[in-house]
Symmetry: C2
Subunit: 433 residues, 2 copies
């Protein structure tokens, strides 16, 4: 491992992170701070690093680094690996890596037409991914929560059999969430469902002794955006500070906004409602009660209807496959429908770029496979409507994770939280209990 690269990683991380500044710094917070620093340094390095490398890159003493590393090893967050043979004198140093058999994150997803579970280990590797397709519309919330708890039970059992310890879980729902309560999920017809309490009371989460600190419920587009971010960061450490708009196309249209490598939830947690940005104040009626929202122009239903794809005899994924086939074959209604939806998406995306100045727009969910026809009109509207695009260009690209972004992002958010604040894990109930 090149020391200059490591120092660069420390600098990169420092620029992308934030924490409260108006607290007096004392010994305890110093330790917390430095444990996270060492863990993230090892995580960001593509090769194993030695204790001496960590000391040199961080400026901490070797003795301090050794104490911190011992604690991370004892907590199953790091492992030691055999040293690589090296040129020159002296005994080669033992390398450090993130533990693949330590704590893991469980991601769960309730969507309109499927339920899913996923386990991701501390290195970010997907260890399990399970989808059960079934229409959830009109079912009582309790029945849906029973099913997702059953899926979670199977996932925890499989993860435990692989030597993993599920450290927390994140559940994605297609709606507006506050403090674990789904305030509104229009396409499930849920209103004020206390999903967090329901989950904690059901096995296997009850058996895992997870607490409100380790179980989160979040909007699906937010978790998908995090999944996208983490996938980019695995491929390129500089991408850990990316800023982008992730557009999630489903039955509804949502968005996750990432700024400087962090999910931006808005001032009160309900930001990213791209589906209800106005395209035309007197446009078609939207399910939300207003007129002319993006969702009314560009959701799955509008796309399939305008493209003359009959949906009576088809599951929605098969209908979308047919739409892509028709567009690929040059069918006029399909092309026109994608052009119209792309233009509406572009008007809304241009609003976001004008307001937030992100440099990338990601087409996610159903829009990812349709990107060959959507990207051009989206980019055209941005170029026409954003003055700064002349010198601060914007890229439009399909999601790299595609439809699994949400549940992978949910699982990944748990291990990212441990990587960001390892003391929560080291001192948490799952460790001391």
């Amino acid at each position: 491992m090149n020391l200059l690269t490591l120092c660069g990683i420390v600098k990169t991380m420092a620029e992308g992170q934030a924490s409260p500044a108006d607290e007096p710094v004392r010994q305890r917070s110093l330790r917390t701070h430095n444990l996270g620093l060492v863990l993230r340094l090892v995580a960001a390095s593509p090769q194993p690093v030695s204790r001496a490398d960590v000391a040199a890159a961080t400026g901490l003493t070797k003795a301090t680094v050794s104490t911190l590393v011992d604690e991370l090893l004892a907590g199953s967050l790091l492992v030691e690996v055999e040293p690589a043979p090296r040129a020159g004198a002296g005994r080669p140093a033992v390398g450090l890596r993130l533990a693949a058999q330590g704590p893991a994150g469980l991601g769960l997803e309730i969507n309109v037409d499927y339920l899913a579970a996923c386990v991701v280990d501390l290195t970010g590797a997907i260890r399990l991914h399970e989808i059960r397709r079934a229409d959830q519309r009109g079912r009582p919330p309790d029945a849906v929560l029973d099913d997702i708890a059953g899926l979670a039970a199977d996932a925890v059992e499989a993860a435990t059999a692989e030597g993993l310890l599920v450290a927390g879980t994140a559940l994605a729902v297609p709606g507006l969430v506050a403090n674990g309560v789904v305030r509104l999920a229009p396409n499930l017809d849920w209103r004020d469902v206390d999903v967090l309490t329901a989950l904690l009371s059901r096995s296997p989460l009850a058996a895992l002794a997870l607490t409100v600190d380790t179980v989160t419920v979040d909007n699906e587009a937010n978790l998908a955006a995090l999944g996208e971010l983490h996938a980019w960061a695995e491929a390129d450490p500089a991408a850990a500070r990316a800023s982008f708009l992730y557009i999630s196309g489903e039955i509804g249209v949502g968005a996750g906004i990432v700024l400087g490598g962090r999910l931006f939830r808005g001032a009160r947690g309900f930001g990213g409602e791209l589906g209800h940005v106005t395209i035309r104040p007197d446009g078609p009626h939207c399910r939300c009660g207003a007129r002319g929202c993006l969702e009314a122009y560009a959701n799955q239903e509008a796309l399939l209807r305008d493209a003359d794809v009959a949906t009576d005899d088809l599951a929605s994924d098969a209908a979308l496959t047919r739409l892509a086939a028709l567009a690929g074959a040059g069918a006029h209604p399909a092309r026109m429908a994608l052009e119209a939806a792309g233009s509406a998406l572009g008007v809304a995306a241009a609003d976001v770029v004008n307001l937030l100045d992100v440099d990338t727009v990601v087409l996610g969910g159903i829009y990812a496979p349709l990107a060959p026809w959507l990207a051009e009109p989206v980019l055209r509207e941005i170029s026409d409507r954003v003055m700064t695009a002349a010198w601060a260009p914007v890229t439009v690209r399909p999601s790299v994770l595609g439809p699994s972004a949400t549940v992978v992002g949910a699982a990944g958010s748990v291990v990212r939280a441990i990587r960001d604040a390892p003391t929560t894990w080291l001192e948490g109930p799952a460790r001391v209990g």
Copy 2:
């Protein structure tokens, strides 16, 4: 001073602040951190506080607090005041306050039809405010910069005569700014004007030995939003963490976005371009080249035209006064014009609330005196178009600073920077030079 209140202030500040977390914490950064902590604690307290109060509220030792306070006194950032008589035993403690005769901020503003300067001291008090009205359109940038430098020279002389030391300056321009360069100011017809270099080379700034670290150039709406934030925070410390959209109505339409008490500039610094949010994709042509932008529906020109206010014989401020008088008298065209502009502002504001979830929309610039007629349609569109408004309400209010928000905000941003990071001042060239 109530100790519980002081502790509450520390907590409030901690929640609202952010700084890099991925740097090892060592002695030097500890001192920097704690100097800022003490200064901001004194600043946030409505009454003088003693060294013992500071120690109790922060958890720092009395000896550490004394060392920090001595440094802040020596740097003219704090002053000691006579102790208030108090009940109970013991000698009353000497109180600490922000220095009103120490460093001050110089705010400068180039607008389309005036130039302005303002000096604000460390306590936030306005010590000087000067406006010179003259149309700047079509003048060469160098001539405008000569005039603003002259205005700055007079302001510095007056501030020095009052015992203040100008510690830095912020210049507001109606355009897009990056690294001190005005990339584009459509209403001045400026493109790629290096304003920072031009300012630094002109007296009196050259004479003050200010550097790129102490001179900033920023968009007018951004600085106005900061002015608004600081004015709120002086009246109510909890407002220091406010989140709001400040809409700046002028010849153009801009916005400053404040999130959790911090100016949000967007990912690359060009955010807040509310004037070019789309109201209707095929609407009227906008100066930016696109169609249907908010600016084309709601700027000063559109308002006066639609209200049938003749502008040939009137300065723009007189024309706006006439518009308000007509609306107050119930004149139909004036009322219709304000309803139409308010509705367009509301559609754009609803987009912002859907994306950023701010709880307050501030009508600034020319919109402040027109708020009696604009606020209702703005709020109506937000209520209709933002689902979360049902449980997360949004307030629409006029700017408290009115048209002076920009230049007051510019001057205030300089002293706020010192309050946020006093070591920059204590160790800066203005002190050691």
